[in-house]
């Protein structure tokens, strides 16, 4: 070879205009400005409701409830991002929740108890596993119709919306199925379904260490290749903010104490005399939220660090390019919808556990909220663009609005109007922002 290889790029010294340097600074530091914007909006909403509600919104109890209420939509939103990024849509999500939820409910409320009675330690695992498999199969089936047979996803999942809802009805003839297995119920939160004080601090500590490790490994890999490093102050600030946020969140969940009646019952059970100021038992991180966090981390990992995720993004960006690059686009589509089905099953489990029942309309209209969450979170309906964490934030924004409005007494029809306006506004802002930044 006659061409000399250039040395690895070291610190740049080229002059740049100030505007450019902020842009490239942000780009090099890999900070998502859109995410920061959404967090700001969330803070504004929270403070607003706190004032209007006369100080009830930002209490440990309400925030604890809010996090549980967000989890069902949030779990599914992480998967919907990938579906939409790949230039598809899944309208059947609510109906999948309905049919899988019904099946899981019937198993633990009627079918299995007839065989093995109630209260077995393993029933919840078996039921959950069956639910996940069923969700995966339904999703994969839809994926095959879309990826291999070539029917547009809008049509397949619209058909699915009708068909799975029909099956949901057929399995239980419209009845309400209750109660759930006592261990299974923990998946839904409630008074027993949380980690408790010690467990929550441990999780918080691990998360904090994880954030620091993540930042440090980022520095290490940049240094290894001689890339420009993030300034130390920035990394330190991010670390402090991240840890601070996590530990504050854990502290909030630990500040929500078991309601007095239940605490008394616990005291009786353990033979503890009832103390003067009352027995304060912190609830800690609710299990549904733990599930949501775990799902978010896994899906973000899949989207960013696995080939599968990269392929989904490439299909969304340019399906021809993906095919010409040798990517098996059809199999990728099947897997995408299969994942969506599994997530719907997880969400269904949380839903029926929380309600301690499966009602015949379970999951109705969920798909709209899930899609809205993804879109508010920055996912573009034309494909190729979206983040998992953004979708979860989008779900949190929407649930904060809805729960907040009930808290302050806004009636249901007006709530729907507000949510609709917020959705359109969020997408409008996003579109304008994208158009602006597209022209460098």
């Amino acid at each position: 070879m006659s061409v000399v290889e250039a040395p690895p790029t070291q610190l740049e010294t080229t002059e740049r205009s100030p505007g450019r340097s902020l842009g490239s600074f942000l780009r090099d530091s890999e900070i998502d400005t859109r995410m920061v914007g959404m967090i700001a909006v969330l803070v504004v909403i929270w403070i607003g409701f706190h004032i209007i509600s006369g100080g009830t919104f930002l209490t440990p109890r309400n925030l604890w409830n809010l996090s549980v209420q967000t989890s069902t939509v949030g779990i599914m939103a992480t998967g919907m991002v990938l579906v939409i990024v790949s230039r598809n849509i899944d309208l059947s999500v609510g109906s999948m929740v309905g049919v899988v939820g019904m099946v899981m409910a019937l198993l633990q409320a009627e079918i299995l108890p007839d065989i093995v009675g109630r209260g077995t330690a393993w029933m919840w695992i078996v039921v959950l596993a069956i639910g996940l498999v069923l969700g995966g199969l339904i999703g994969a089936f839809q994926g095959v119709m879309i990826g291999y047979v070539g029917v547009p996803s809008f049509i397949v999942t619209l058909g699915g919306l009708l068909v799975w809802r029909g099956f949901a009805w057929l399995t239980a003839s419209g009845r309400t199925i209750a109660p759930m297995d006592s261990t299974f119920q923990l998946l839904g939160g409630g008074s027993r379904g949380s980690l408790g004080e010690a467990g929550s601090w441990i999780v918080g500590g691990v998360a904090c260490l994880g954030i620091i490790a993540f930042l440090m490994s980022g520095r290490r890999r940049r240094r290894k290749f001689g890339f420009r490093l993030r300034p130390m102050w920035l990394d330190a600030t991010l670390g402090v903010l991240g840890c601070g946020f996590v530990l504050t969140a854990v502290w909030v969940t630990n500040s929500y104490y078991l309601p007095e009646n239940l605490a008394r019952a616990v005291a009786e059970e353990r033979g503890i005399p009832w103390p003067e100021g009352g027995l304060l038992i912190p609830l800690g991180i609710p299990y549904p939220v733990l599930i949501l966090i775990a799902v978010t981390l896994v899906m973000a990992f899949v989207a960013n660090r696995l080939r599968f995720g990269r392929y989904i993004f490439s299909i969304g960006g340019n399906p021809d390019a993906a095919n010409l690059a040798g990517i098996n686009t059809r199999r990728t589509i099947v897997k995408t919808f299969m994942v969506m089905g599994i997530l719907a099953a997880i969400s269904a489990a949380v839903s029926i556990a929380r309600l301690n029942a499966a009602v015949s309309g379970l999951g109705t209209l969920s798909e709209l909220y899930v899609i809205a969450a993804a879109v508010i979170g920055g996912t573009s309906l034309s494909g190729g663009i979206g983040t998992v964490s953004g979708a979860v934030l989008g779900a949190l924004v929407m649930q904060s609005l809805q729960s907040g409005m009930v808290l302050v007494g806004v009636d249901a029809p007006l709530q729907d109007v507000v949510v609709g306006i917020v959705l359109v506004t969020a997408v409008a802002i996003d579109t304008i922002y994208r158009r602006r930044t597209a022209h460098r």
């Binding site: 070879m1 006659s2 061409v3 290889e5 250039a6 690895p8 790029t9 740049e12 780009r27 090099d28 890999e30 890999r221 940049r222 290894k224 290749f225 001689g226 890339f227 990992f301 960013n304 660090r305 696995l306 080939r307 990269r310 993004f313 490439s314 969304g316 960006g317 340019n318 021809d320 390019a321 993906a322 095919n323 010409l324 690059a325 040798g326 990517i327 190729g384 663009i385 597209a438 460098r440």
Partner: protein
């Protein structure tokens, strides 16, 4: 002088030989019994009007299209190319007219699309890919600095250089370029032409499809002309004038057969 050097000289094994290739779409012969070959360090221009079938022919080599009949030989060995992966495995890289870049992914991601570098734990090694891309682009286009933005925010020439770098990096022995300078300005066009000459010097065989008759005439060692799916003929440098090649493209007559008046008519 007859310009029908379709068959390679027997003493040199061609880099690529395509024999009797045919592709039909529902009764229409897009490619009809076409044979061409390419030597190492050679630039073969493939030209023809719209619908001549040159893109389709080349797609059978790059794996984007399955031929109905015919056989491809690489370094003398018969091979089957059914997918783009098969072609790449044989050292055949393609730069498509549309560049085939994913707009939402950055340059390193596009560079390694479908062939990502993985860490030991089978996750994407983005840093290694970025590093490799920096080095590759440093060779080809030292002014290229934007490794983190999606390629949609790059200029036409920068996108072109990413596409070329991708094709060149993976030890291609055979490079197919479909309209490489169509969307470029004069300075960038000259850069690409210099790159093509450079690659030729390195022993790579290049198949060049272009509407720009000047480019093809300048760069190519041999030119194959197609018309309505059939091969009109292949001429070597010096065997035909630009007008005679034009005649092959438009009328389908070889330099020996075309009359002076027909040549004059070409210019209207």
């Amino acid at each position: 002088m007859t310009g029908s050097t379709n068959n390679p000289a027997t003493d040199q094994v061609p880099l690529v030989e395509m024999r009797n290739m045919s592709v039909s779409f529902g009764g229409v012969h897009a490619v009809n019994d076409v044979s061409i070959y390419l030597q190492p360090s050679e630039i073969l221009g493939v030209v023809g009007g719209n619908g001549a079938g040159k893109s389709t022919l080349i797609k059978t080599l790059s794996g984007a299209q399955k031929a109905d009949s015919g056989q491809i030989y690489v370094n003398g060995e018969p091979v089957t190319i059914n997918t783009p992966r098969d072609a790449k495995a044989l050292g055949i890289e393609t730069i498509y007219q549309t560049l085939a870049l994913a707009d939402n992914i950055d340059a390193p991601g596009n560079m390694f699309l479908g062939r990502e570098l993985l860490t030991r734990t089978k996750t994407l090694d983005d840093s290694a890919m970025e590093d490799a891309t920096r080095r590759i682009m440093g060779r080809l286009n030292p002014k290229f600095q934007n490794f983190k933005s999606p390629v949609s925010s790059l200029s036409g020439g920068q996108r072109q250089s990413v596409a070329i770098a991708r094709a060149v990096h993976f030890n291609a022995r055979i490079l197919i370029m479909d309209e490489p300078t169509a969307a470029l300005g004069p300075a960038e066009t000259e850069q690409v032409r210099e790159l093509i000459r450079q690659l030729k010097r390195e022993g790579i065989g290049i198949i060049l499809i272009s509407h720009d008759i000047h480019d093809v005439f300048d760069l190519s060692d041999r030119i194959s002309v197609m018309l309505q799916g059939k091969l009109v003929g292949t001429v070597s440098r010096g065997e035909a004038t630009m007008d005679e090649i034009l005649a092959m493209i438009i009328i389908g007559k070889l330099p020996g057969e075309v009359t002076r008046s027909e040549l004059a008519e070409l210019h209207g």
